[in-house]
Subunit: 254 residues, 2 copies
Amino acid sequence: MTYCVGLMLDRGLVMMADTRTNAGIDNISTFRKMFTWSVPGERVLMLMTAGNLATTQSVVSLLDERTKAVDEREPSILAVPSMFQAARLVAETLRGVIAQPGTQGQRAEGTFNATLILGGQIKGGPVRLFLIYPEGNFIEAGGDTPFFQIGETKYGRPILVRAYDRAMSFESVVKLLLVSFDSTVKANLSVAPPFDVQLYEAGSFTLEPGLRIAANDPYYQAISAGWGEALKTALDSLPDFDLGQDHQGAHKAG
Amino acid sequence: MTYCVGLMLDRGLVMMADTRTNAGIDNISTFRKMFTWSVPGERVLMLMTAGNLATTQSVVSLLDERTKAVDEREPSILAVPSMFQAARLVAETLRGVIAQPGTQGQRAEGTFNATLILGGQIKGGPVRLFLIYPEGNFIEAGGDTPFFQIGETKYGRPILVRAYDRAMSFESVVKLLLVSFDSTVKANLSVAPPFDVQLYEAGSFTLEPGLRIAANDPYYQAISAGWGEALKTALDSLPDFDLGQDHQGAHKAG
């Protein structure tokens, strides 16, 4: 499995991805699922991947034009004029990679699937965030739903739904995401640190250095340990259920 | 879908079940998923069901012996000598109901499946809690995992893992469960109030009246509204991520 989240902020974009891959439960590895392209002052693109690792690595290699010699590469993702066209290019590449095994007699549906999150900004346009499906179509984050999750999305969702706010600072959002990732890691063995974090400040057109947060990172350990206590305090702050009182709309049944 | 949780406490047992059933997304209904049997002073049995409604209703009717006239009924679940034998009886009944359509040319696997949680106490034995699989086998809650969830288990799990404690009072546990159910309701349309709650005090051999908590219950509304704020306060109580500081085990990548 995998867990990746991309969040729109007033200040820009935050992307976080775990690095665990697994084939069954007894064959786990660490692979990067966060990829970036940029032309300083002109465009920044960030991609996160969930699904079949052969598929997602192939998509990234094709976008990078790694089929060509190093000095002949001019990735078209660095030439498309808008984020929408970038999303189309990535989606088409993904669909092509998934379709290929099917033409050679292998069952491609399901097994070779992948889902991607693409975010970034290209000069002349706003910051945009897309969720790209294996079918090659995609949706864009908007005001009502300003974030996307892929992979094992359920355990970490309630805290995002409750506490995320577009006005948050980068520092608070990384904390929020670590809580969301930690809840997921505690419940699903196929999601694990290190986590890759990529921040992008709207209008900067500058790719910040990526951060990698390891399992033994003191801050992550402090959040992981502190969150249990903070939750208990939060629960204590709410009134207990009153067994003696009759609740409106309640009925007693024997 | 469905969401049911059964929790062992030092004081006894707590069971909570939602009441929404759905066939597709445009055909929803309200049905009870919590069933009880008791012989005052001798035994209390509580059953929660998730899965195909025809299957689970059939299991409950068979356990109730509703195939017989009312005055001829002596449900064997009221005669078995131990909780283990009660779990075997329920599991055998479930397996039989699921297997039946298969013998008549219908595909029984998957479609007609159901999973059950059985808890209670029979004189001479301790309080026990079982998770019963559609295959007709079952597992028992123990010290390491003193609770079971069935149905849509993921959204509501992190809060249970973090905040649940066997020493809790019934009043606190109902609050905790309402938070867990509320997180699930907010994320999955096929889980919804009213919620049925059943408390059992160890050694009492007395079935308490069941509580039903409706969507408009003022306490549930207070918990649902207060939890968002409480979570934000909890998050604020943890230190923000320091973007300037180099984190141990972190590396920067371009």
